[in-house]
Symmetry: C5
Subunit: 315 residues, 5 copies
């Protein structure tokens, strides 16, 4: 695939940003910042390094495989060196590095979190930092997780709503992790095609500027939805099909959607996933454990290959 | 039925607006805007296009039948082209189109929503946007759903109360979707005559400027009410009778009431419903799935026929 | 009984108002307004027309017997024409008529309500309007229902407390409907002498300027109370005795107490009740269904006879 | 015991007030007011008349024995005439008399209350008035009940915390009624030595300026505490011992503690209690039912004898 | 071990403070104050005297062994005389001594507390004072307990978040007691290596400037974590190993961590613990019962020996 010129790249980003034309200039500026930063700058594609696993899974489970990662500075430097578009982490991690890195790479403050010491069937994260914190620390965006399907959905959506309004009013972009979970969903339902598409739609309706979902399988969870997928013969056989359907489900592609890699796995399967995301029209990946649990040199090489797939520099 | 002159039309709207004479000028202006917009301008009748099904039922169930509808712009353009009085949708959808459409057609921001990933017997929607959002996005009104009969009725009414006060103080009209649901009601009770009339009265007492209810059946749900309907021989045999009783139950016709079409069905049954609404003195319809799940050309033709029934241009 | 002179009447009201001498001048002004308005002006007696049954019991159950009552204007006009001291109703009803009637008759905005679509054993009303609404609509007072004995008593008392403080600070009087209900009370306990006297005391302690309770029976509900009533031989045999005990229980008669008529019944039994209230030293009645469910001419005649009993014009 | 000179009395109060030297001058002024008022002025001892039984137990149970007590004015006049240091009551009672008595005797507004129409095993009072009310009504202090041991302990302590901060910032003293109750305590545990000492400590830590507890028995409720009382041989055999231990448990006597008399009983047993409180170093009594349920002349004589015991004028 | 020069000591503290370079100057000033105060000034080590046991366990259980401790002044004077870096206590205790000791020794206001009269399996402390209180009383920091693993984790983290933001904005440091407890943890799990490391990480992510955890055992509680500890062969055999892993888990040593001594035990075992904390790179101890339950002279000697171990003056 031929490389793109600067003008083409600007056009690509402008086209995406045109879908956000009701947004405040401050929010737009921060979206531009992320889209125009790093190795994928100007391509309309994003690879973001998120490191909230210390909070979500505990420190040893997250960092023992590569102990350099116990230090938050390791991650933001990795994001910078590999050419990620942004680095996302909870308050403590961002606070530790903001003095030095704010302004060097777009920072996303993950303002709610959940730990697994008390792991509920119907989860709801705790708000662990604030829009004011994000502003003081020089961040470009706030990140928020919702668990559609949890019996606590109402309080999560309402908390997100309030924080989003405050973020937007202060020029911060809003990134929503939309992860279906809860007692009414089966385990495979959490990544079922219908459920993930629905979760993506909800995030879009709640005003997310960037939506993060898991890559869906071809499982169909809800009967009423299953009937429609079958009757209308919506193509969901390949991963690229499914990514395409997610993009469709987020205002016909008018929202930026990135996909998560999940637990650590082989490089090749992630490269395959990146190709499917690219081919389905997705905007990129959020890659955590698969980055920071490798040795640094490997991680950079690995991340850059993913980026090159998105950029069309490699097949 | 003869067509009406401009003076007659003005008089019709003034007569309706006279029932809102305690309201703030800003609210009155927005009610005037909706009553004087579109193909039914000046008739005192309203057809509103509501598109919250992506949130309420999921994207595929809502839009796969007519994939153009995945894009929020499709709907507002459909509302405009068919001559609807207003377009109603949740935050994400309105945010996507407000930059271009605010000022071209009255927008109603639906500020609470409910999804069906976790579908409770006693539902309560989440607040998903705010009065401030509606103002920033140039809307004419906010929309809010209550579920009378749900065990969460108190928190819903109180949330509506607070938002209504804020909306009115900022000159926005308040549209209330009043849908009885909950563990104490039977399935047919949700559309029973007594229950829907009660739900309409509650919306009126809570200060709704425009009330939306489902078309009631002749089922009578509550014993204490049934006795009165029978003793007083309240006519509820025909749909027009029932619409008339709803209008009576909303301050003897002093509130604007529109009726919802429900799931997709044959055109003729909707035309029949429109005739009954018109003959019973109702103010019109909110028609969602029956509009946007048809191909665009059909939808426009279909919506305009409904409008012509209301306008008295066709029988 | 001889008619009273103007000076005597002024003295009567001043004497009552002397019990409110810690209150703000604005609150006192509104209490004066109610005591000096209508056919009972200056007598220290009150007959108030309350119409919240549309919300509390549903529209047909309330208004089908006399369909003129579907229109809120019917009621305020009835209150005015019959010479009531004030008219009380929920937000929607007051909003509909305030433009024309504020200033013509004292209005009481009933700021919480309960419907019977979801009718709990331990009820708690929803706040449906605000002090700010009452001010904007030109009301003289706000009304609030508490259900002592309900497991939700704490949240109701606290909501009343906050609203009362706000109301008083803005010069509005506070009328409290104190209706014992809840899982720990028997059905007849709800109107038991000890329970109603206790509910009246609670309303007084919570700062009610006007207290509304149901007429008590001679049933004694709580063992600890029963012992005292028997040991101290508190007279409760006649209705007048019981009214007297209620007055005693509200600061030895230093608070205005009016009694509710309950469901529709024969005129004579209501006249008897009025005589007992008068003879027991009560301040009057709140009469809803027994007024508006009669034809208008009958209702006016009926209400005026009740007033004349209070005024001592008839026996 | 010889009578004290004015200089000695001033020294006594100054010594107590020295323990409150971190407090705001406004708070100190109000503590001085109570300590320097009435028959016990300047002795460092307090007898306070509290009348919240109308709310807590109902009007007849409280006042039928001496019906003059239905009138709130009776009580404040009794407090004044008998020489009490202060009068404490809920909002309604204080509101009724504040116009005339504020400034004549220190008033304590009891800002939370509990009734027994719905009497829970794990109680939590309702806030029934506010710091702003206390200021407007000219009170010297606010009173607040907590029930340590109730499953609602957290919400009570947090409500007290907020109100205390507000009270202190406005120069009002804070009186805490600390009454252990709840499903984890046995009936006798509520007045057990370990439990009452713990409740007194909690009130002190929460910032109470004056602490009110019940007189403890020698029962020991909690195993972990029992072991320590036995191992360390803490003297708790006599009532004076137990009072002494309570004083120790409230910062080694650095907080004012008064003890409640409980239900009506013989005069002599109350005089004995007063002697024990005095001998154990306690600051006095809160005496409600034992005062106002006697005829006025008896009550004054009775209260003054209690005061004289505290003042050391009688043995 | 040779004694350090003043320059070396300044360098040590500066090095620690360099990890807090995103923090407000006011917060940094208060951290400097604690690090540069007392016998361990300038060593980067801290021994803090915390006395909240009167609230947490009751007065007799805490102070009967050494009754001088009933008086809050005893403790702050002990902290001062023994050379502690700071003194931590709940509101009442700090309020009693702040007038005299604020400015003489850094004070930490413990703003939430839990008692054991109602001791839940899933605990949540009550907020008992405020940031405003800490400012008024001249404190250097606020202290807050969280119980990771409790079903109330979300509300605790969110309360801490709000208070931390307020504290930081006013220049106060935040000390977090992170004590795993709750129905999903076994008793030994509460001090298990994986669980304590996780709790320390959570406190760090929530923005604690100083973290307090219990010394962990080599127990591994959670299966998913156990696998990693074993697979990665994380050394946890000795106490020093485990302290080292805690330091690793708090941003690779970029947060100050102090360890608690727990219940009273032999001096030697505490000296051994101090050595392990020192050798594992920990920052010191919070020692309560083991200090104040000894006679004063012993306590000072004992505390100074602990400090000398940290300072490297003794082995």
């Amino acid at each position: 695939m031929a490389q793109t010129t600067q003008t083409e790249r600007t056009r690509t980003v402008d086209q995406i940003m045109d879908n956000y034309r009701s947004d405040e200039p401050g929010v737009r500026a921060n979206l531009y910042r992320m889209l125009n930063f790093g190795r994928l700058a100007g391509t309309g594609k994003l690879v973001i390094l998120p490191v909230d696993q210390g909070f979500e899974h505990g420190p040893a489970r997250s960092f023992a495989a590569n102990p350099a990662g116990y230090d938050p500075e390791y991650h933001v430097q990795l994001a910078l060196d590999s050419g990620c578009n942004a680095y996302a982490a909870p308050y403590g991690s961002i606070q530790t590095i903001a003095h030095d890195y704010a302004g060097k790479i777009p920072l996303i403050l993950k303002i709610n979190n959940h730990d697994t010491l008390c792991d509920e069937v119907d989860p709801a994260p705790a708000q662990t930092s604030s829009v004011q914190d994000a502003l003081r620390l020089g961040c470009a965006a706030v990140g928020f997780t919702i668990y559609p399907g949890s019996s606590h959905w109402k309080s999560m959506y309402e908390q997100l709503r309030g924080l989003s309004e405050e973020a937007r009013a202060h020029g911060l972009a809003v990134v929503v992790w939309s992860y279906p979970r809860g007692s009414t969903l089966s385990k495979e339902g959490e990544t079922g095609m219908d459920v993930v598409a629905y979760a993506a739609q909800i995030a879009a309706q709640l005003g997310a500027h960037i939506i993060k979902v898991k890559l869906p399988t071809d499982h169909l969870e809800q009967d009423a939805a299953k009937k429609v997928y079958q009757a209308e013969q919506i193509p969901i056989a390949t991963l690229a099909d499914r990514v395409k359907h997610i993009m469709q489900s987020t205002f016909a592609g008018k929202r930026i959607v990135v996909f998560s890699g999940g637990g650590k796995k082989g490089e090749d399967s992630i490269f395959d996933e990146a190709r499917a995301i690219r081919d389905g029209g997705g905007n990129g990946s959020i890659i955590g454990r698969n980055s920071f649990q490798r040795p640094r040199a490997d991680a950079i090489k690995f991340l850059q290959k993913v980026m090159d797939i998105y950029a069309g520099k490699v097949v």
